[in-house]
């Protein structure tokens, strides 16, 4: 009786190529990546056909979330210090040194002046979990945001810098909140803004589409 002998194949797989590919993709992502900035709220921006890239330095960003809460942030730490010290004295916020230092590390501020003290008493980790009600804005005076904007522009002007004023809104943000933010800027005679949007192709057949087509042909 012939004995059936199952040929035992080795389960060993050569993974060298697999590793090569994996690390190639890994290298791509490491180089292409740009970490998502730390934001207190998630904002889904609308899209536009604009091709202008967002500036990365000297940015004053006002974010509006879908409920109309307004957040203020500015990237340059020098300005942050000057702004908070100036606001502290002009608005009688009563912040102490550690709270001011905490502001320098805060990602963005979304509380009225009255709530600033309790917000800045928290650590940065706690701050991101803290429910911020938003900076008050107002149609006729621009609300408290106007003070933030005024100080920021003033500090930049003192250093002969021009800030990039950016507004970032959610798709579902109602217009009144946006109008209030615009008003706060207009109060300081600022009429030029950048609105943060995601990219979109111009519709086929539209004048812009034709224009871009002829530009690329040239």
């Amino acid at each position: 009786m012939p004995r059936f002998k199952a040929s035992r194949k080795s389960t060993w797989v050569d993974m060298t190529a697999f590793v090569d590919v994996a690390f190639l993709i890994l290298a791509f992502f490491m180089l292409a990546t740009k970490f998502k900035p730390d934001e207190p709220v998630e904002i889904n921006t609308p899209s536009s056909v604009s091709t202008q890239t967002v500036p990365e330095v000297d940015v004053l960003l006002v974010s509006i979330d879908k409920d109309g809460r307004v957040f203020f942030s500015i990237d340059n730490p020098e300005y942050r210090r000057a702004i908070i010290e100036n606001l502290n004295s002009t608005r009688n916020l009563g912040l102490n040194e550690s709270q001011i230092r905490n502001f320098l590390n805060a990602p963005s501020i979304g509380v009225p002046f009255s709530g600033l003290q309790s917000l800045l008493s928290l650590s940065v980790d706690q701050m991101s979990k803290y429910h911020q009600p938003g900076i008050p804005v107002n149609d006729s005076t621009g609300g408290e945001l106007a003070f933030w904007v005024r100080d920021a522009i003033y500090m930049a002007a003192a250093k002969k810098q021009k800030l990039n004023l950016m507004i970032k809104g959610d798709n579902a943000t109602k217009y009144p909140a946006f109008r209030g933010v615009l008003k706060a800027f207009k109060m300081q005679d600022q009429n030029k803004f950048l609105i943060v949007t995601s990219a979109e192709e111009p519709p086929v057949g539209s004048p812009l589409y034709e224009k871009r087509l002829t530009e690329t042909r040239r």
Binding site: K36, S50, T197, S198, S206, Y209
Partner: protein, 177 residues
């Protein structure tokens, strides 16, 4: 086979008593390395923002109460677009709010192009009036529409109470084809 034969072919080449140095298998188990690689890939995929945000320029006119500083618009060249609730778009020509009509974002482009064709280039002014019911997306979309249709003169103005009333009265009308 494919493996290097490491077995001793019998017979002591180096003579009896000489111990043969044992050849180790050159293959390394790469499973753990692959695991780690893909773990890092997933991490980078989740943290990455591949799509760069774009900035849309928005220039607003200065608020002014003095009439001599305000830009004059010719009535025939004016085309007012109002943004209402539920993504509805209202429009009228010639500064006549009573002639307000309802449309959608999909159709407003044809209306703008039509108006642009009918009007001398220097007279054309589009007036955008988002109401309190409009969303930020609506506002960005309509400003974007100006870029798409190559409209150089447009203004974003607040809606008047009269216009808002007319808009409300037409809020339930079906969209015209």
């Amino acid at each position: 086979m494919a493996d290097i034969d490491v077995s001793d072919g019998g017979g002591h080449k180096k003579g009896p008593g000489v111990k043969k140095s044992k050849k180790k298998n050159a293959r390394v188990d790469l499973t753990a390395m692959v695991d780690l690689g893909f773990l890092l890939i997933t991490f980078f995929i989740f943290t990455t923002t591949l799509q760069q945000p774009m900035a849309m320029q928005l220039l607003l006119p200065k608020d002014t109460d003095r009439p001599e500083e305000q830009n004059k618009t010719k009535e025939t060249g004016a085309f007012t677009i109002l943004l209402g609730a539920d993504d509805r778009v209202y429009y009228y020509e010639y500064m006549d709010p009573t002639a307000m009509q309802v449309t959608t974002f999909g159709k407003i482009r044809d209306l703008i192009i039509d108006k642009k064709r009918r009007t001398p280039k220097d007279d054309l002014v589009l007036i955008l009036k988002p109401s309190d019911d409009a969303t930020f997306k609506n506002t960005v979309d309509i400003v974007d529409e100006m870029t798409i249709n190559d409209i150089s003169r447009f203004a974003m103005v607040d809606i008047t109470p009269e216009e808002y009333e007319i808009m409300k009265s037409k809020a339930n009308l079906p969209v015209q084809e």
